[in-house]
Amino acid sequence: MLTGTALFLSSILTLAAIYAVIALALNLEAGVDGLWDLGVVSFVAVGAYTYTMLTVSPASAGQSYIMGFGLPMWVGVLAAGIAGSIVAFLIGKPTLKLKNEYFLITTFAFAEVIRQILTNERWLSNGVAGVYNLAQPFKTYFTPSVYPYILLLLLVIIVFIVYVVVHRLTYSTFGRSLKALRENEPLALTAGIRPDRFHIRAFVIAGFFAGTAGAFYVWYSTVITPSLFTSDITFFVWMAIVIGGLANNKGAIVGSVIFVLAGESLRFLDLGSGFAVRMASMKIAILGLILIAILKWRPQGILPEKKVKFSNSSKNS
C-alpha cells in the first residue's frame, strides 16, 4: 500500500514537473512579456511528435509515420526544442503584430489546426491510433519498481535547469525590456525597444522549452496520440501560472505542483468505476474553485511577481 502510494505520488510529481517546464516557458512569454498565448500546446505537440518520429524505429506493418530514424534520445529532445522554436517563429511572425485579443484567438486556432493535422494525416504520424510502447531514458539500467523514481529525479533536474535559464533571462536586460513592453509599449518605444523583435524572441524561447516538454511528456506516457494535446494543456498551464503567480518563476513551479496534485489526487478516492466520468468533471470543478479562490483573495498568485531591488547589489544573490 505504501509503495503504491509512493509510486502514485512520484507519478503525479513527474507529471507536475512536465507541466512546470511548460509553465516556465509560458511564464516568460505571457508573465514577463505579456503575450496572451492561448496556443502553447502547439509547441508541446510538435515537440512530442518530432521527438517520437526521430527516435522510434521505422514504422512496422499496419502503422504509418514518417522518419523513424531511431536516433538517440538527446538528439530527439534537442530536435523537439528546435521544432517548437520553428513553429513559434512561423506562428509568431504574422500574429505578433496583432493586438493581444486577436493574438489570443489566432494562437488558439493554430493549436487546433495542428491537432487536426495530427489526427487526420495518417501518413504523417499514424493518425488517431498514435504510436505505442515508446522507450524511456535509462530504463534498462534500473528495475521496473524503482524506475518511476529515476524518471522523477531526471525531470526534477530538468526543471531545475529550465528554471535557472528562464530565471536568468527574466532578470536580464532582455527580460527587463520584455517587462517594459508588457507594462507600457509606447514608452518602451521611446527607449528604442523594437517590439516585434523582442516579442518574437520571447515566443521562440518559449517554443523551445515547451517543445522539449513534449519529449518529456512522451517519456512519461510512453504513448503518443493527438488526443494528448488538446487545448486543455494550454488552459491548465495558464491556470498553474495564475495560481502560482504570473511573472514569478518559482510560482510557475509551485502552481504546477499544486495544480497537478489537486487534480490527480482525486483519483485517491476510490469510488468505483462508475464514478470515473463524474470524477473527470469534479476535477475541472475543483481546479476552477481553486482558481476563483486565488483570484478573489490573492489575485497576484501565491508567489507574486518579485520586486527587483539593486540597493544591495554588491551582494549578488
Binding site: V165, T173, R176, N184, A191, R194, K309, F310, S313
Partner: protein, 257 residues
C-alpha cells in the same frame, strides 16, 4: 537641429495639424503653446514616429526621418515624453531608469551564461541612474514601484528616465502640468542646467509663466495652424495670441484655481 516642414495630419475631416513648419535650434529651449486641441501632441506624435504624417517632412541633423518607426527615432537621440505619464507601473523606479540605458541589446545567450545578478556594465548604469535620481529629487525612491509614485513624482521620472540614454533633444509634452510649485522650480532649474550642457528642448505646455520664463523662442498653434512665432516678449504682446489663446487660458486658469 530639428526641422518640421509643412507637416499635415488629417484624421478624417479633422485637420489636427495643418501645414505647420517649425525649427528647433541646437541647445535652445523652444516652446510650443496653444489651447487644448490645437494639435501640439499630434505634432509630437509625428516627429517621434508614433503616427504617420499625412504630408510634410521631418528633418533631424540634416537627415530625413519622416515616418521612420518610433523605436528607431528614439535611438537617434530624440526622446519624447507623454502628456499622461504612466511609466512602467509594475516595475521599480530603478528598473524604469535601466530600461532606458543603452545596454538594451545585450544578448540572450549572454544572459543565460551570466550567473551574476548585476553585470559590471549594469553596475555602471545603476550608479548613473542613482546620480540622475538624486539630481531630480527622487534619490530615495529607487526601490519604489512606479505605480506607488505621486503624480508629481511621475512627471519628474518621465523626464529623468531618458537621461539614461544620453539624448540630444527632448520633446516634452506638458511637463509642468500637475506638478507642485516646489517640483516645478527644480524642473526649471534642471532644464536650464541641461540646456547649458548642450541639450536641446522642445516643450509643449499650458503654463504660460513656465514657458515664457524658460523658452528662447516660442511657436503658437491654434486649430492645427501656426498662428504666431517669436521671442517670449513678442509672444506675450501679440494680439492674435492674446485673443486665441491667452485670453481663453486665463479664464480657464481662474476657474481651475
Amino acid at each position: 537641429m530639428l526641422e518640421v516642414q509643412n507637416a499635415k495630419k488629417y484624421f478624417g475631416g479633422v485637420k489636427a495639424v495643418d501645414n505647420v513648419s517649425i525649427q528647433v535650434k541646437k541647445s535652445s529651449i523652444t516652446g510650443l503653446i496653444g489651447a487644448n486641441g490645437a494639435g501640439k501632441t499630434t505634432l509630437f506624435n509625428m516627429i517621434s514616429g508614433f503616427i504617420p504624417l499625412t504630408a510634410g517632412t521631418v528633418i533631424y541633423e540634416g537627415e530625413d526621418i519622416t515616418n521612420q518607426p518610433a523605436y528607431k527615432i528614439s535611438t537617434k537621440g530624440i526622446v519624447r515624453t507623454f502628456q499622461t505619464p504612466l511609466g512602467f507601473p509594475r516595475m521599480t523606479v530603478m528598473e524604469n531608469m535601466l530600461v532606458f540605458a543603452k545596454n538594451r541589446n545585450a544578448g540572450i545567450f549572454t544572459a543565460i551564461k551570466t550567473s551574476k545578478k548585476v553585470t559590471p556594465l549594469e553596475e555602471e548604469y545603476i550608479e548613473r541612474a542613482r546620480k540622475i535620481l538624486k539630481d531630480v529629487g527622487l534619490g530615495n525612491k529607487e526601490d519604489a514601484w512606479v505605480s506607488d509614485l505621486s503624480a508629481g513624482e511621475l512627471k519628474i521620472l518621465e523626464f529623468a528616465r531618458p537621461l539614461m540614454a544620453d539624448p540630444h533633444i527632448f520633446l516634452l509634452d506638458e511637463p509642468a502640468a500637475g506638478i507642485n510649485p516646489a517640483n516645478l522650480n527644480s524642473l526649471v532649474t534642471l532644464i536650464k542646467d541641461l540646456r547649458n550642457k548642450g541639450y536641446t528642448f522642445l516643450i509643449v505646455d499650458h503654463n504660460l509663466k513656465f514657458i515664457m520664463n524658460i523658452c528662447d523662442y516660442i511657436y503658437v498653434m491654434a486649430d492645427g495652424k501656426l498662428i504666431f512665432e517669436g521671442l517670449p516678449d513678442e509672444v506675450a504682446n501679440a494680439d492674435c495670441v492674446i485673443e486665441s489663446y491667452i485670453g481663453k487660458k486665463k479664464t480657464e486658469d481662474t476657474v481651475s484655481n
